[in-house]
Each structure stands twice: as structure tokens, then as C-alpha cells.
């Protein structure tokens, strides 16, 4: 995945996460469970996050068009490409990069309005997922669908690795989840089934 493209701009944020807006999504971005990054603290840090919701907003104009039969394709393209009704993408903060390196913790300061959001490169995903400390942040999140998000992000992180390394990576992730969810075996079983190589 290229790391230079901007996939959206920040609408609102807090320490625990942020929401960015984008126009019509491309097939590859944004994806549920994908890693994204955004600068904060005037570039001193870079917040890493996981996409946990993609919402297509509507308005009254679109609502009344839904009932119109046999619409010419140009009407649909106008609504999708020209009208500025953003697609809202919610991101859970799972770590940040500073001059001291990667931290698997909430960032000291959130990004601010209209900051550019970029997808993380393959190398950045590999580096970030070399440790599983961020899984605790996902499990503790009150907003994100934690189990689905963990499963999706681990599968994406596995696919960023060479085929021969994927099963090992997912087994190691499973071990970490077993440690974190040792008191909730039903949930653990459900999660392990989803990430089974």
C-alpha cells in the first residue's frame, strides 16, 4: 500500500481516537481494521490508529432521491463525486511514534482539524505489529467493536508479511490474546477462531 497518499482530513479528535472525512472510498482505502497515521504536536509525534468504523452520511437531498426510480448514472455520479457529503471514518488510537521511537500507548496530544490522514506503509505495519502491546488498548476501548477489530487488524498485519511468516505471526498473536483474555475463555475462543491461520 503506498504511504504517500492522503486518504482524508481530520474532522474531530480526542486522545483516544479521531474521525476523518474523505470522499468516495477507493476499493483499497479506507478499510476496516487498517492502520493509519496522522501527525500531531506540530509533527513531533505521529499518531497510529486502527479504522473501526466507516459511515456514509446522508442529507435531505440524497434522502428524497433514494425513492426516484431509474436514475440516470450522472445523478449518482454527481452525488458521489461532486457533492461534499463526507464519508466519516472513525479511528482508534493505538500508539504513536516520537523521537524516542514507537510507543504502544495513547498519544500525549491528539491531531487537530484538517490534518492529513495517511495509510501506514507495509514496513510501518510490520514494525508496529512486531509487538502486541496495542491489543490491550483495543480490548479496553468502549467505542470500537473490539473483537472484530482485533481479528481484522491481525489478518491485515499477517497479509503484510511473507506467506511463510503468517501462521507464526497469528499463533504469536493468539498467545498474547490468551494471556489478555485468560478470564474470558468464551470470548477468547471466539477470537482465536477468527484469526486461525
Amino acid at each position: 500500500m503506498p504511504d504517500t497518499i492522503t486518504i482524508g482530513r481530520l474532522l474531530r479528535s480526542s486522545t483516544t481516537g479521531f474521525v476523518f472525512g474523505c470522499s468516495v472510498p477507493e476499493p483499497e482505502v479506507p478499510l476496516f481494521g487498517a492502520f493509519v497515521k496522522v501527525p500531531a504536536q506540530k509533527g513531533q509525534t505521529e499518531v497510529m490508529g486502527l479504522i473501526y468504523n466507516i459511515a456514509v452520511e446522508d442529507d435531505l437531498f440524497v434522502r428524497q432521491m433514494v425513492a426516484a426510480p431509474d436514475l440516470d448514472e450522472a445523478y449518482i455520479q454527481d452525488q458521489r463525486a461532486n457533492r461534499q457529503v463526507p464519508i466519516e471514518v472513525s479511528v482508534l488510537a493505538v500508539g504513536y511514534r516520537s523521537s524516542a521511537g514507537l510507543s504502544y500507548a495513547l498519544p500525549p496530544q491528539p491531531p487537530i482539524t484538517l490534518d492529513r490522514i495517511h495509510p501506514c506503509s507495509r514496513a510501518e505495519v510490520l514494525e508496529f505489529t512486531a509487538r502486541f502491546d496495542y491489543l490491550r488498548l483495543i480490548l479496553d476501548s468502549p467505542e470500537a467493536p473490539a473483537d472484530e477489530l482485533i481479528a481484522a487488524s491481525l489478518r491485515l498485519a499477517a497479509s503484510a508479511r511473507p506467506p511463510e511468516d503468517r501462521a507464526f505471526f497469528l499463533r504469536e498473536a493468539g498467545k498474547e490474546l490468551a494471556r489478555l483474555l485468560s478470564r474470558d475463555l468464551a470470548r477468547l475462543e471466539n477470537l482465536l477462531r477468527r484469526i486461525r491461520p
Binding site: 432521491m65 425513492a67 426516484a68 450522472a74 455520479q77 454527481d78 458521489r80
Partner: protein, 397 residues
């Protein structure tokens, strides 16, 4: 709240009852109007003599054409490829209580290409006017709003002409304005020089539209006009009864509108064509070959009628193929947006200056003034309005 709604409860009830009663009365009188319309059919020589007599009194009714006045023309087929272009404008009037004296005109436009699987082209073009020559009249007074409206109308038409010149070479093209094609500046200001200037510039743009080959029309939603009703009133008068006093009233048809009269049109049907008898049309547009015609169109769907008034210049009214194009294009556009052309809704959306955008622009202006060491405040009166109009917080007594 400043508006104490509880004190208006009874008045609002009365308003509703009054509206219902008025509608009942109008509906009782409507069949008589429709009977006169049916009786006229194709206008005969006598009716034309009456029209000519009435025109001597600057009568502003609808002049019948060769088409039967009670006709309903079915929806023509829509071509597979058709361009529909729309433009609309909005403005910020000068505000002497604002941060600086200026006015702004913004024109939004859209080129919609039916039959091509691509997004329409959209644009908006703002321009701000702040020079003394823009803001002040020769007598030192501030520019009147009617002149700004005329500037906006002219820019809308110019944008349509510019786009039509490029698009009409690719496919049949219709241009739409969210208003009639007749400028009412003649009714709003006494200044003949200004009227000549504005209408002259407007007609020059109609010339350009005609040269482009596009079919042009203006669309009026929920029309309140009673042009055809005036014709019915005229038809009921004897030739020797026609005079200023008689023409001033609508007699038994008082308060009935053309929109109500043409309520018999089924979705997709248009009425007969009429010539707008407005003096501005006959004195200024007709000599330049742009006589404005009008017809009514039901752009709704079964169960939800939407009667629109459509104005077209004579070079469309007298060209049946392009008239049909206007008819079918407007109806098809209304299908997507339930009774009013989609492109006009979008052009408005592209043109409108929202309160938030105006605030943002005023902040830009303030910044430019402050950077040059100038004061950038609004008047204390405007400040007071901002404070008191933002909603009150009341503490319990």
C-alpha cells in the same frame, strides 16, 4: 425568547382556518374559470381584438397563440444524449454596519450530461466588489440592491451562454434558469438609463444563447402569476367595456392563479403556449427578437402534482423540436428531485452563500484590514444584534 409564541396561538389557529376557507371558496370558483378556458379553445379574431385593445392599457396578461388555450400536450420522448446546463446566483449586499463596505456575487453552475456515465461538471465563481465606483451612485448614495440583483441575473445568464457555447456542439443542449426570463427591473426603478443598460446587457446574453444553438428556458416554481386568468377576465368583457378600471381587477376570478387553473394537467403534460404581455416584453424584448413566451408544466408524479411556469424566448417557442426538448428535459430533471429540476437545486447549492461562509469571509476581510493597521470592527449596533440575537440564557426568578 423574544417571540412569545404562546401569545400567537389563537392567531395561528385563525390563520389556518382562514387559509382553509379561502381554498374552499377558490375551488368553488375554479370550475367557472376552467369553463371560460374551454370556451375559448383556439383564440378567435374577437379575442385578439380584445387583447389588442387591452394592450393599450398596459395590460399584463397572457396573449394566446395558435395552440388551443385549454390544450394539454403530452410528454415528448427524452433523447438518449442531452446536456442540461443550469446557473444560479446569490449575493451579499453591502452592509454599512459590517467590517467593511463591499458586496459579493457568487454564481454556481452545473453541466449535466444525460447518457454519459460521468459526474456533471460543477463550478462556482465568486466576485467581490469594493471600489467606490462599484459601491456608490453618481449622487453619492449607496448602490441599490436592485442593481446588485441585476448584476447577479446578468452573470447567471452570461455563465449559461458561456457553457452552452461549449456544450451545444457535443449534443442537444438545454439551459435552465431558476426564474423567469423577463427582468422586472422596469417595475422596480424609475431610472430609464439604468433600465436600458441592464436590459441591453441581458438581451446581449440572450443573443449569445441563441447563437449557441441551445434551447433556453426559465423555470418558476409554485407560480403565483395570474397571466392566463387575466386573459379569461378579458374574454368575459365586451370590447366596449375594456378600460383601465375593468382590467385592474380579475372580477369573478379574483385570487385564482394560473397554477390552480392548470391543475388539470397530468404529470408530464404542458399547457398551451402564451406570449407574456408584460410591457417590458413587448417594448424591449420583442424588438430584439427575444419575445418571451410561457407555458405551464406538471412536473410532478401521480399523487403529487408540481405545476411549474416555464418561460422560453420566441426562438424556442417557434421551434417545436427544441420546445419539446425543453419540455422533456425539465420533466426528466424533476423526476430525480420530485417536482423541481435537479440541476437548479444543485446550481443553487453551488451558489448559495451560507451564514457560516459569510462569517468566514468577513473574518478574511478583517484579517486583511488588520494586517494593514486598520480597524476591523463591526458597528456597535451590529455587535448588539450579534449579542442579543444569539439566543438568551435566562435565570430563574
Amino acid at each position: 425568547m423574544a417571540l412569545e409564541l404562546n401569545k400567537l396561538t389563537h392567531a395561528v389557529e385563525d390563520l389556518g382556518a382562514n387559509a382553509a376557507q379561502r381554498l374552499i371558496e377558490l375551488e368553488e370558483r375554479l370550475p367557472a374559470a376552467q369553463a371560460v378556458l374551454d370556451a375559448i379553445g383556439v383564440a378567435d379574431d374577437e379575442l385578439h381584438r380584445k387583447v389588442n385593445a387591452a394592450l393599450n392599457f398596459r395590460w399584463a396578461g397572457a396573449i394566446p397563440t395558435d395552440e388551443p388555450v385549454n390544450a394539454a400536450f403530452p410528454l415528448p420522448p427524452h433523447p438518449a444524449r442531452l446536456n442540461v446546463i443550469a446557473a444560479d446566483g446569490s449575493q451579499i449586499y453591502p452592509d454599512r454596519h459590517g467590517v467593511s463596505l463591499y458586496y459579493l456575487v457568487n454564481v454556481g453552475s452545473i453541466v449535466f450530461r444525460h447518457g454519459l456515465p460521468e459526474a456533471p461538471s460543477t463550478a462556482s465563481q465568486p466576485e467581490v466588489f469594493f471600489e467606490d465606483a462599484d459601491l456608490y451612485e453618481e449622487d453619492g448614495g449607496q448602490i441599490p440592491s436592485v442593481k446588485i440583483d441585476a448584476e447577479r441575473d446578468l452573470r447567471e445568464l452570461r455563465e449559461l451562454a458561456r457553457l452552452a457555447a461549449a456544450e451545444a456542439t457535443t449534443a442537444p443542449t438545454v439551459t435552465l434558469l431558476d426564474n423567469g426570463l423577463l427582468l422586472y427591473i422596469t417595475l422596480q426603478v424609475p431610472d430609464q438609463k439604468l433600465i436600458d443598460e441592464v436590459i441591453g446587457a441581458y438581451l446581449a446574453q440572450l443573443d449569445a444563447l441563441q447563437r449557441s444553438g441551445a434551447a433556453s428556458a426559465g423555470v418558476v416554481d409554485r407560480p403565483r402569476a395570474a397571466s392566463v386568468i387575466r386573459l379569461l377576465r378579458l374574454a368575459t368583457l365586451a370590447l366596449n367595456e375594456i378600460g383601465e378600471a375593468e382590467l385592474r381587477t380579475l372580477g369573478p376570478f379574483q385570487h385564482i392563479t394560473d397554477g390552480m387553473l392548470f391543475g388539470f394537467l397530468r404529470p408530464g403534460e404542458r399547457s398551451a403556449l402564451f406570449v407574456n404581455a408584460s410591457p417590458a416584453n413587448l417594448d424591449r424584448y420583442r424588438p430584439r427578437g427575444h419575445t418571451i413566451y410561457l407555458f405551464y408544466l406538471n412536473a410532478g408524479r401521480p399523487g403529487k402534482d408540481s405545476i411549474l411556469r416555464v418561460e422560453v424566448p420566441e426562438w424556442i417557442a417557434q421551434d417545436r423540436a427544441r420546445l419539446d426538448l425543453v419540455h422533456t428535459a425539465i420533466y426528466e430533471q424533476c423526476r430525480a428531485s420530485d417536482g423541481f429540476p435537479y440541476v437548479l437545486m444543485r446550481a443553487h447549492e453551488l451558489a448559495v452563500v451560507t451564514a457560516g461562509e459569510r462569517r468566514a469571509f468577513d473574518q478574511m476581510v478583517s484579517g486583511a484590514l488588520i494586517r494593514r493597521g486598520l480597524h476591523a470592527g463591526i458597528s456597535q449596533k451590529a455587535q448588539g444584534k450579534a449579542w442579543t440575537g444569539a439566543g438568551k440564557r435566562r435565570y430563574p426568578r
